[in-house]
């Protein structure tokens, strides 16, 4: 895995993505 | 009576029986009221009843075409003020608006002033 895709994380189960507060923002103050 | 709309919302938002309270969870979603305005000066208030520490809300005004599965202020059809830092949002750009933001127990008032179109009597 890591040789072909170093950033890839192998999972056994689906994981729920926790959205960030700024998920939809292009720019914050 | 102006109430929270049962249809004009992201369907997984929880509405109270009296349709005056909405509770969100997980990612940002939006809901609109049963009435809108087209011209004149209008004002409404909302109270923050509860807000977990790591959460936030955005309150404001939105047109019919605003996305409801994002916070208001995501696109060009809405304008909002965020509880965190009081940032104002429009088209996904946040700008400084006030110091401190708002929290549980605070009442947020939103005023809109829309000029009367020339061809409307």
């Amino acid at each position: 895995w890591s040789a072909f895709a170093p950033d890839f994380k192998e999972l056994e189960e689906n994981i729920e993505y926790e959205e960030k507060e700024s998920e939809f923002d292009d720019y914050d103050e | 009576n102006i109430l929270l709309s049962m249809n004009d919302r992201a369907h997984y938002l929880k509405i109270s029986e009296d349709r005056k309270t909405v509770t969100g969870e997980k990612g940002y979603s939006s809901i609109r009221a049963t009435y809108g305005v087209s011209h004149g000066t209008w004002y409404y208030e909302t109270r923050i009843i509860d807000k977990p520490e790591d959460s936030a809300c955005r309150i404001g005004w939105a047109q019919e075409l605003a996305q409801l599965f994002t916070p208001i202020g995501y696109d060009k059809f809405g304008y909002s003020c965020r509880s965190l830092k009081g940032t104002k949002f429009h088209e996904s750009i946040g700008k400084h608006y006030m110091d401190g933001g708002y929290d549980i127990g605070d009442v947020i008032g939103c005023l809109i002033h829309l000029p009367r179109p020339k061809d409307v009597t």
Partner: protein
């Protein structure tokens, strides 16, 4: 539900990813797989459709994406995390199919075999992309009855 959960955990088949004649990498059977058997679950990150929409635009610029729609509320994104099921290529004449099953109240994507799959055979399923008039994606499966495009 418990039976389904056990099946997911214990009845997945031995597979491996390797170079594919269809497209770059593919998934291959390491054991014979009888028809209508569970092959593997498509695993990744559960996201909302709006998040998927934003990510898809970003992924198109980066090269490829692995988004699988479960229903109108949930998409599985295996682009940055998941399992080898993400390597399964499309075929217009596939040997497997994808099915959404519900286990303990949660929907999951599972790949099942349509027919007997021999050791070393590539595992494929029909991606079932919605048909589009433009932005056509050519299909590389070269199978009998190939539709020419993924969409």
């Amino acid at each position: 539900d418990l039976l389904k959960l056990n099946q997911l955990k214990f009845r997945k088949k031995q597979v491996k990813f390797a170079r594919s004649k269809i497209h770059v990498w593919g998934l291959f059977a390491m054991q014979p797989i009888p028809p209508d058997e569970m092959v593997i679950e498509y695993i990744g990150q559960r996201i909302r459709p709006m998040v998927a929409e934003i990510r898809e635009k970003k992924y198109l610029n980066e090269g490829s994406s692995y988004l699988f729609k479960i229903d109108s509320d949930t998409i599985i994104d295996a682009t940055h995390c998941g399992n080898v099921a993400r390597f399964i290529n499309h075929s217009c004449n596939p040997n497997c199919y994808a099915k959404v099953i519900t286990v303990e109240g949660q929907k999951r994507i599972v790949i099942y075999s349509k027919q007997l799959i021999e050791v070393g055979q590539e595992i494929t399923y029909d991606y079932k992309f919605p048909i589009e008039d433009d932005n056509k994606i050519p299909c590389l499966c070269r199978s009998v009855g190939c539709r020419g495009f993924l969409n």
